[in-house]
């Protein structure tokens, strides 16, 4: 599905991603873990085209997508949620969802029919219910607490019904109670839909519960890649991620 081939990205002297190769197959669920600054978010930025690699290639379903911007990559079937939620802060939650729905159904150039069409609003309502955001539908995003914003951010990426979903720390900032309820609803749905899921996480519990395969980053390189329980038990992994030992 996605084939990252010897990708590197340097910022001046700093090699944020150092000769990384990674292959993710269809419908796999992969968790990426590693300490802050180990290159995880940079990898997502590279895969989705927000950054250009300084060397290497990225192939998606046989197409070379290296350096294509986020818009083209999204059009090819990839969606992404962010570590810092990227939302339309001055608009309401419902507006955010409706805009995403309109974009997904190709209505971005429509300047005549109202956005608040009954079928779109119904669909939006379903999504809000799915993510537990119904009560905040009319709230302006800038007034939302961080956890709710994170959930909305994930919701926007899911609306696109992507083939590949990349999530950057989907549960960070989300309250302990919501964390699991959102993931419990989301992950099985993704699995059922055959969506290839790659998520970056700090939280080992989340990793163990929802990932099938773990990829460990340290200093811009991948130091481990394999079945989740297996990898997380390795001492060098626990040292790199938790500082144990």
């Amino acid at each position: 599905m996605i084939d990252v081939q010897n990708v590197s990205r340097a910022f001046g002297m700093l090699r944020a991603v150092d000769d990384v190769s990674l292959s993710v197959g269809e419908a796999e669920t992969v968790g990426i873990i590693g300490t802050n600054g180990s290159g995880k978010t940079t990898l997502l930025n590279l895969i989705t085209g927000y950054l250009q690699p300084t060397s290497g290639r990225i192939v998606f379903q046989g197409t070379d997508i290296t350096g294509l911007g986020p818009r083209r990559v999204t059009a090819l079937g990839m969606a992404r949620s962010f570590q810092i939620p990227q939302l339309y802060t001055g608009l309401t939650v419902l507006d955010n969802i409706l805009i995403a729905i309109a974009a997904h159904s190709g209505r971005s150039a429509d300047f005549w029919t109202p956005m608040y069409r009954s079928d779109c609003v119904t669909k939006a309502d379903e999504l809000l219910a799915l993510f537990g955001l119904r009560d905040q539908a009319a709230a302006t995003v800038s007034n939302l607490p961080e956890g709710r914003r994170k959930v909305l951010d994930v919701a926007l990426s899911v609306i696109l019904e992507p083939k590949v979903l990349l999530m950057d720390e989907p549960t960070s900032g989300v309250s302990a109670r919501d964390k699991f309820s959102v993931m419990d609803t989301l992950m099985p749905a993704l699995k059922e839909g055959g969506v290839t899921t790659i998520f970056v996480e700090h939280d080992l519990d989340i990793m163990e519960r929802y990932a099938e395969r773990a990829v460990v980053f340290d200093g811009g390189k991948i130091i481990a890649d394999g079945p989740v329980a297996d990898v997380l038990a390795r001492p060098e992994v626990r040292r790199a991620v938790l500082g144990e030992g």
Partner: protein, 320 residues
């Protein structure tokens, strides 16, 4: 500043306002009627500015389209002897839309201050051309616009006919604007203001949304300019000068960006204040306007429309 979601249902107030404005000429002097028509036509230009302001883009060069529309009518009447509005108005609108499409391709890559500065430069280019090429444009003298006809008929009271023409067309422009603001593109423009990255990650293009909005904006403003040309009976290069663009932005802020009607209210307020300020104190009318603008910026940034909305909410609370 969060914009309220706009549904395109025609408020009762708008119908009432239309009716009131329609019967005003029966009671008011010709000069006041002229001022109202002028304010409405210019209000259309300001609506063009407001459509872009929704996206956080400030066009400091919209006088370009104002002038293009006006001079299209001017050329037609002065150089070709065609004063027929049913020819001049569509022509002005189409030419403005075409220019906006071409320039939009350039401008859509810019944001913020650079968008403002570049739009200013483009309008100044037109200004310098209009000033220098006398044979082409009449230079600083400008062109007179005579021989106004509507559907082939030269009216006995051209001012009155123009008044109703402006009223009807402004209403049409407002309707188009309202549908635009309530549409996916209208909301996408608001999204451009808050987060372009998210737009790209939804598979949509902020630049293309801006281009589409810019074309509609240019067309509306060109139509406004054409109407003003018929009303005033004369076009001159000042129409394209940067201060003229500044006035449109001024009125946009004065009226507020919260509704399609706000630019019209702002424009009427502006024209009347300017008219009386000029009469009573010609040396300080700019000073007055400047202070007025500062007051709005500091104390009522949502403009007159915001003030009206607040008053309406207060009245509602008082009734309860």
């Amino acid at each position: 500043m969060s914009e309220p979601s706009t549904r395109p249902s025609l408020p009762l107030a708008a119908i009432v306002a239309f009716a009131v404005i329609a019967i005003l000429p029966l009671f008011l002097s010709d000069w006041i009627s002229f001022l109202i028509a002028l304010a409405l036509a210019k209000g259309a230009v300001v609506l063009g500015v407001v459509l872009l302001l929704r996206g956080g883009l400030i066009s400091f060069g919209h006088a370009l389209y104002f002038a293009i529309g006006a001079y299209a009518v001017g050329f037609l009447a002065n150089r070709f002897g065609i004063g027929e509005a049913l020819v001049g108005l569509p022509l002005a609108t189409i030419i403005s839309a075409l220019v906006a499409a071409a320039l939009g391709l350039l401008l859509m890559r810019f944001r913020g201050i650079y968008f403002a500065m570049l739009s200013l430069a483009l309008s100044m280019i037109l200004y310098t051309v209009l000033i220098k090429f006398y044979d082409f444009s009449g230079g600083t003298d400008g062109l007179s616009v005579r021989g106004f006809t509507l559907a082939g008929a030269a009216p006995a009271h051209p001012g009155l006919v123009q008044y109703y023409l402006v009223l009807v067309l402004t209403a049409a422009v407002v309707y188009v604007g309202a549908r635009f603001l309530a549409s996916p593109l209208g909301y996408l423009m608001q999204a451009v203001r808050y987060n372009e990255i998210r737009i790209e990650y939804l598979g949509a293009s902020a630049s293309q949304a801006i281009l589409a909005s810019y074309v509609i904006s240019g067309a509306i403003s060109g139509l406004g300019g054409a109407l003003v040309a018929y009303l005033v009976g004369h076009v001159s290069p000042e129409l394209a000068f940067w201060v003229s663009s500044g006035d449109f932005v001024f009125v946009a802020v004065l009226g507020g960006t919260g509704s399609v009607f706000a630019p019209l209210i702002g424009s009427i307020a502006f024209e009347f204040v300017k008219n009386y300020a000029l009469k009573f104190s010609p040396n300080t009318w700019q000073l007055t306007l400047g202070i007025f603008l500062l007051v709005v910026i500091y104390f009522q940034p949502q403009g007159l429309w915001g003030l009206l909305t607040r008053l309406r909410a207060k009245l509602r609370r008082l009734r309860q």
